[in-house]
Amino acid sequence: MAVRKPPITTREYWAPGHAACAGCGCAAALKLATKAFSEAMEEKYGDPNAFAIAQATGCMEVVSAVFPYTAWKAPWVHVAFENAAAAASGVEAAWKKLGRKGKILAIGGDGGTADIGMQALSGMLERRHNVVYLMYDNEAYMNTGIQRSSSTPYGAWTTTSPPGKYSIGEDKPKKWVALIAAAHQVPYVATASIGNPFDFVRKMKKAAKVDGPAFVQVHCTCPTGWKSPLEKGVEIARLAIETGVWPLFEIENGDFHNIKIQPPGGGAKVTREGGRIVAIEFKKPIEEYLKPQGRFKHLFKKPEAIDELREQIKAMWKVLGVDVTLPKPEE
């Protein structure tokens, strides 16, 4: 039988035996990210290993580097919660001085990026370091025991935003770090999801190839923190795209008038004007995304909270210049 080649390199930079929970979406995201990065480095500099990684404390740091073992097969440094971007800037400056070709990958979770590492990230983007910042967004501090972060979506249960008689769980809207990063007018900013790995790999390669800073925010499932079934990790991430909860967009050079949006699929009707997506009519209600997750279980007793979440999603799409229609589930 004929040999078939996989769509991505078979080189591994993320070795098995790490301590991530079964079904971890973030582990899959990092595996794909490093593969895509090495492919991009091979195409740009002819050396697949021309990259180094600086990683902030977080789930993926804790599970990958249990002393004296490491799951990384690339030069990797663990730094404190707040300074992955700062450390990556330093490595990049040193590489420049040494005349070494390559690019630095900084990795942080949503807590390490949206809350604690925000200044370092902003500084790195503003100083135009040649670094790709990858934020894996599992929407809470999963490593320390599921505390809320500013990236936690409205209505989600966490241990520090418990729902009850007078509370609906997290009561503030999600902070979109990708939009903040794009406001620095950096060459490339994108959101991706583990639910669409080919799109994620394409964006990661594009980010690795641009000259200057780039920011990629990838949505990945956490079965432990989201209280979702292990095997549905990828399916739930895909439902987030198909129901409109998670937008896939690219912003180049801070040009908010020409945001490239990836059609969500899932039967959604897309209206274009001059090549640009201006309206999306989603066919799947967001309840389909919320239902398999235990962290949103209490919302089904308070339908007005789900309506509020719908309004917030609409408002977020409006920032991207897209009018969306989100259906309600059929009775």
């Binding site: 070795a15 790490h18 079904g23 249990v66 004296p68 095997e231 990790g233």
Partner: protein, 105 residues
């Protein structure tokens, strides 16, 4: 059957780490976590049907471990030493070539 791409790493870690502690707390062997056989975490085990497989590589792409590598022809090979049995591969397989069965020990 293709050989595990991590075999050489396991041998190196077992040889070097058993003799001395790493100086300066540096994990100097890349990918040394391969000595942790996480397969013991598993409750359900993926069973692969080679005849149904269309080699779309989706299981290979989605596996978070990665406990799936490819043989010479491009078919997935399941590494039961590391598979934690999450079942993402079986759930995503478009032709149902992977089924999860309860582990018997």
């Amino acid at each position: 059957m293709a050989e595990s791409p991590f075999k050489a790493d396991i041998e190196r870690v077992q040889k070097e780490y058993s003799e001395k502690m790493t100086p300066g707390a540096i994990a100097y062997i890349p990918g040394s976590s391969v000595v942790n056989k996480t397969g013991s975490w598993r409750v359900f085990m993926p069973e692969f049907n080679r005849d149904k497989c269309t080699r779309c590589f989706l299981c290979y792409i989605y596996c978070p471990e990665p406990a799936i590598y490819l043989d010479e022809e491009g078919y997935p090979v399941f590494d039961y030493d590391y598979c934690k049995g999450c079942g993402i591969c079986a759930n995503e397989c478009p032709v149902d070539a992977i089924t999860m069965v309860r582990e018997t020990k």
